[in-house]
């Protein structure tokens, strides 16, 4: 009797306290994210260039989206970016963090330099790589000619442009995962390593058998971060290629942006944004379910 009331009181106090703690964050999200989303869903029922009168089209935009080859191509490109980003950034990030964790303070200089790409804005990176990859005067062409090769056209070639973008994105974001894993490493207590070493484990064994399994939660959340980030990626691709040529590097976000800000089809752009939101949420939910199930 007393116990149930205690449990009840405890439950109630948790409910009150969690409301207090969550309120500010949810309020901000409601005003600045949810309201605009609702607004977007409403706008998706119209055809509207921002100047002339809105024309009600019902689900017309949604129908168009389902048949829009470019949108689905962009979605496919996003999936490619997602998979390759994870495959490239995670191992390098872990490797760099492992090295930094091993050498400790001696690695400070390396850490600062390795972190620089993350500090640069996508606009800056976009400009720099635009010149570096110029087919005539660029760095890569220069290297190729040094070894007797011809000009290398990476950004104008529909077959190579997406991969090129992925490499640059990876270059930009690997440092973040490096720091993320480093923070994860610092969460492992020294005792664990000492204990493993006393048991006669080599560095390699320690890494594969002890550290990596313990880093699992960090890796899992890093994968989700990278996934969501890749699915809504925009900045660098927009600065560098605007999704071109021939939509070869088109991503959902760049396509939506050009619909809204170049074609001025606000209604359709809203529809694309909503579609994008639904797709990303679905993928994120499914992945999280899968990752959590493995844990159990």
């Amino acid at each position: 009797m007393q116990q149930t009331s205690l449990a009840f009181r405890r439950k109630k106090s948790i409910a009150v306290a969690s409301t207090v703690f969550l309120f500010p964050a949810l309020l901000v999200i409601a005003i600045f994210i949810i309201y605009p989303i609702i607004d977007s869903f409403a706008t998706s029922a119209y055809d509207w260039n921002g100047i002339t009168d809105k024309l009600f089209v019902g689900f017309g935009n949604w129908k168009e989206m389902f048949h829009d080859k470019v949108f689905w191509k962009a979605f496919g490109n996003n999936l490619i970016v997602m998979v390759l980003s994870i495959c490239i950034q995670m191992p390098i990030g872990i490797a760099l963090a492992t090295w930094l964790d091993k050498v400790g303070r001696k690695g400070n200089v390396a850490k600062v330099i390795w972190f620089i790409p993350m500090l640069m804005s996508s606009v800056a990176i976009g400009y720099l790589f635009r010149y570096a990859l110029d087919a005539n005067t660029g760095f890569v062409t220069g290297l190729s000619q040094l070894f007797g090769g011809g000009r290398v056209d990476l950004l104008g070639n529909p077959g190579k442009v997406l991969l090129t973008c992925i490499f640059i994105i990876s270059w930009q974001f690997t440092p973040f995962y490096m720091v993320y894993y480093l923070a994860g490493y610092s969460g492992l207590s020294e005792d664990v390593k000492e204990a493993a070493m006393i048991d006669g484990a080599t560095e390699r064994q320690y890494f594969w058998r002890v550290a990596l399994p313990l880093l699992k939660p960090t890796i899992k959340s890093a994968v989700i971060l990278s996934m969501v980030g890749s699915l809504k990626y925009f900045d660098l691709v927009y600065v560098l290629t605007k999704g071109g040529p021939s939509h070869a590097s088109e991503l959902m976000a760049t396509y939506m942006y050009s619909m809204a800000f170049e074609s001025h089809r606000n209604g359709y752009a809203s529809t694309l944004a909503c579609g994008m939101f639904i797709l990303i949420s679905l993928i994120a939910i499914v992945t999280m379910r899968l990752l959590n199930r493995k844990e159990d």
Binding site: A25, F32, W99, V112, Y127, F176, G187
Partner: protein, 279 residues
Amino acid sequence: MNSKKKFRPSSIIVAVLVVLWFLICLTPLVFLIMSTFKQQFEMMNNGVFALPEGFYLGNYKALFESGRIWRYILNSLVVLVVTLVILLSFSAFASYPLSRWKFRMNKPIHGFIVACMSIPIHITLLPLYLMSVKTGLYDSIWALIGPYVAFNLPISVFILTTFMATIPKELEEAAEIDGCGRYQMFGKVMLPLVKPGLATLVIYDGVNIWNEFSFALTLTQSAANRTLPLAVNEFQGQYTMNTPMILTVLFISILPMIIVFIFGQDKLIKGMMAGAVKG
């Protein structure tokens, strides 16, 4: 380094890789810095990767003589600090119950916030613009705070809940026995323990906010209320742009971040270590 150790081929591979990654990270920055000392025609005629003909300081001079750059820097700083303070406290508040307590709405709310990570910011530009006009915040740096906090919140909560979840339950239980209440527990036990997580957020969100372009472009217009990334605008026209000047602006906007990181990373590591020892 360690001469006592046996020579191993793998350590050479590691050293080569370390140096290689050094070069990969540094090269673009070197080109960026070099370009800031070039005149426009120089860049056109000699190619982007040629060494500058001399130490041409005209870009820096022009930028700082106009005086507006200081205003942009100040605006960016104010926005950064105010946003970070609000953002970090709100996300720490929210992450605490989500990671430590069992209640019915826990998973749905967590899922909801995480789902918000997937929202492309560009679709909110129009509604948020109209909102800022209606509230009279349009064309002031304060219009930026709300959207910046909101769009960095989901990822911050996501990262912080992960961090908080790794902290052992025993610590809290011990504190509870000592008579620590729920709210005290947050301030006295939790916050100190998630310092590494907060440090990661300061970096990640800080860089995002410092470099943010789209909201700043839409929600402010007069030169007095612009942030640093928008300084690029002045040199980008309908058919042409002053590339060395733009790169100078970009370098100047990266510079504070690099300096902060150089001096701040020591603290960052200490924070991480502290978390590690106690955790």
